[in-house]
Symmetry: C2
Subunit: 302 residues, 2 copies
């Protein structure tokens, strides 16, 4: 049996697991994200404790994912200053001596959903987590999308809704971008109560589903994913999904002609298939890709 290291590197905590080749989690710990000097040694020790053949990392960002760049594998302009310009991938490769792969946490989750979860068998999906922030991972042609940098779909511009008492938003960069309007903190700032405590019939949810439907419309028209998966803390309010679907269908105005739209997007805009495990399973899949890429006879395009 082969073992893989999987790391979900979050801004507040690190989740580490050793997962076997069948996808069974053998060991799993979490530790707070302090500085690299404080947090890296414990992580290295954890992975050294098992005979892993490769490591996969889904990390908070932004990340440099361009293999031709001198700072490939670095965490770049993060507001977490201790981790800014930190060579995360290189440190692990050097210390562990196994092949390793790095992607954004949300690209990892999207990959897991596309291989094992709600988008299983599809070539493309968008995975978005709506919580403290809004982040999105994107799979197209079966592989995570990087491009110039990597998707930051949480920050796309949205149009303020007419009845929004906080039309300026709260994003420190963009004000009224999606995250600035629809993240957990935006909801709390707008209504003075946390999203969790707002009753189900509060007007907050009409706005929230309105902004998230703008995301869905924009995604469907821009790159036409085969599935949109919405997860994260805010989406625990299960009544949001049908509201988002309905507003998305309404906004498309019949322009996208497809059975999924005619069916009210019920199977199209969905919750994650892996619940909260998509992050760590994404890291496992990245580890498996790293192993394959390191084999001498791998083809350039896996």
């Amino acid at each position: 049996m082969k073992f893989y290291g999987a790391l979900e590197a979050g801004g507040t905590k690190m989740v580490l697991a050793v997962i076997d080749e069948e996808g069974t989690v053998q060991k799993r710990v979490s530790m707070p994200t302090l500085t690299p000097a404080e947090t890296m040694p414990g992580m290295i020790d954890f992975f050294r404790g098992s005979p892993i053949v490769a490591l996969g990392i889904g990390s908070f960002g932004p990340l440099d994912l361009n293999p031709r760049s001198e700072t490939f594998g670095y965490i770049t302009a993060t507001p977490k200053l201790a981790w800014r310009n930190y060579p995360l991938l290189e440190e692990f490769t050097k210390q562990l001596g196994v092949p390793a792969a790095l992607d954004t946490d949300v690209n990892g989750a999207a990959l897991a959903e596309s291989v094992l979860g709600a988008a299983k068998g599809l070539e493309s999906c968008l995975y978005v987590t709506v919580g403290t922030g809004i982040g999105g991972g994107l799979i197209i042609h079966g592989q995570p999308v990087h491009g110039l940098v990597h998707p930051e779909i949480g920050h796309i511009p949205v149009t303020p809704l007419p009845n929004d008492p906080m039309p300026g938003g709260i994003c420190p960069y963009h004000g009224a971008c999606l995250e600035g309007m629809a993240s957990g903190p935006a909801i709390e700032k707008r209504w003075g109560v946390s999203a969790k405590e707002l009753p189900d019939d509060h007007p907050a949810w009409d706005l929230e589903s309105g902004y998230l439907s703008q995301l869905c419309v924009s995604a469907m028209l821009s790159f036409s994913p085969e599935k949109i998966i919405l997860g994260g803390g805010v989406m625990q309010k299960k009544f949001l999904l049908p509201m988002i679907r309905e507003k998305t269908v309404r906004s498309l105005k019949g322009y996208v002609s497809h059975p999924a739209v005619e069916a009210g997007l019920t199977d199209y805009i969905t919750e994650p298939g892996l619940d909260t495990a998509s992050g760590i399973m994404g890291a496992w899949l990245l580890a498996r890709q790293a192993e394959k890429l390191a084999q001498p006879n791998h083809r350039e395009s896996i």
Copy 2:
């Protein structure tokens, strides 16, 4: 020497070419797009007149590009009623007896730009034509993106600018979507003069570059293409590009950290490298893919 058929199927005219394996156009004609009964026989005759080994078609849409669908290769819900639900790909395959491939006109153009033009050597690009309508083609991981349907990025929502005298837009589906605000007809409707006749210092261009920068911002944050190529009639106003770049940088507010942004996006938001030939050369590349896919020993994922 091998020859390929290339068809750029537009809503008003068809451009047909026979192109050799080195990419040299051997023959080229155009004919008006009437009904299938009127237009198909002439096109079939043209291609029959040369020993082509495969045919590539870049077509107006919407198209069904899902190989698992019963109406794969059809033009679907087009407003050009004579072509609605027309099995374009099947008709050519049946009549010509050679492998054929179909994609949207703009995906074809994007493919040509990514292989031969402004995005040569890159894995991804967005190609957008701004004219009578606004359409976009998308290449990711070196291949055109289809997904659920195919990108229709001309219809993404935009936020009306405060000084716009026509904030409702003119798109019959969405009103104030990108096409409804920034296409040639939108400009003409807004100012009562055609885009061509408007002087370079007219306030129209401030609005136009504003809306097109919203497209660029949304694309960069959503799927992070390695290049954005803007073509079409409206973009003949060469002073628009620098205005769009500047507004895009300003709207990103430093959030996307990359040398291309620091360089003012000069090499990033660009004009087409193939001028007006991207459409027909895209069809040629599709023909070559069709030939490869038809070979008995091709791999499933080219």
